[in-house]
Symmetry: C3
Subunit: 137 residues, 3 copies
């Protein structure tokens, strides 16, 4: 009898281990002007935000990826606006990059926020223990 209880406990424990989500925090770095990279980034964040609702995701766009956050230019505008409503997902763009491309905040997809410096934002997140994924070809 004791053997069966032990086995049952072990099974419960094993099941719990696999079912339980260990929350992660991921900062995604996007600098590409390639819309394929924009689209695969969105697919990654969309799938992960759904699969890991306790985790946090931040996509930082700077350098060549500016069009990804600009209304009427982005190929992922609809997905980004929808995803940005999730409490655990944020999309941020570098103000230096915006200035260089003469983009103001009124042109940004709804839900996108800004940071003074995209690279610094990523490095601060890394220092706070966030994992890092560079999106790109």
């Amino acid at each position: 009898m004791k053997k069966y209880i032990m086995l049952l406990l072990a099974l419960c424990f094993a099941f719990n281990m696999s079912a339980q989500e260990t929350p992660v925090k991921i900062v995604f770095d996007v600098t590409s002007d390639n819309v394929k990279v924009h689209e695969s980034t969105m697919r990654h964040v969309k799938l992960m935000a759904k699969a890991y609702p306790e985790s946090k995701f931040e996509v930082v766009m700077y350098s060549g990826s500016i069009n990804m956050v600009v209304k009427n230019k982005s190929t992922v505008a609809v997905d980004m606006e929808t995803l940005a409503k999730n409490a655990n997902v944020s999309f941020v763009v570098c103000e230096g990059t915006m200035k260089r491309h003469k983009i103001d905040t009124s042109q940004l997809i709804s839900g996108v926020t800004t940071v003074p410096d995209g690279i610094l934002e990523i490095i601060i997140k890394q220092a706070e223990g966030w994992g890092y994924i560079k999106e790109g070809q």
Copy 2:
């Protein structure tokens, strides 16, 4: 006399420091469909696995790099099968990516293993203290 012994000890110590390998753990992130990226990744892992036999290397393939692990499609199949036999090298592919491209395990190069989620695998490795290298152009 004591001075010479000290000098000798210092030299031995310095020699030992430079000759000794400090083992590292590196996770490589490959998402490119560009065979040049597949080939340079293999070159990096091959050279490092030989130079640092006490270190550990894991190559995680997902998103656009699926062909890199598929028999008859990969341009690095021979090298991958050989390298995968090293105890300190592993090649893992994302099951989500396999599903999206309708690839089953029988089509994978021998020695390649799978993980449920490629990005999560990389982030877990980072959290465990592995270094991270994004392969790509």
Copy 3:
């Protein structure tokens, strides 16, 4: 009166918080043969080195980016030579990559130094707490 002093103190504190730089250390990984990537890397390092003089920046070049450090081939030679004079910026190239491309040290842009293994250099920096940025498309 006390209220105004408190307000004044709060403003001073807030101003100090935003003006104060938290020094960071960043290692940039460049493997691309694309001159656009070389140029955006230089722009990033140039801007950050100026904005954050207490921070440290190291650009590691290996694999496909060899021309970035070769006199008469690099499109960023002038900027690199100038920036390399900053105490907080270094440009290092992988000796393995140099050997493979038959480049000797006399061909390197003034101020560029070498490391035996570019990837190992990056991983050691990460292990020492440096942030990591992969440059690329």
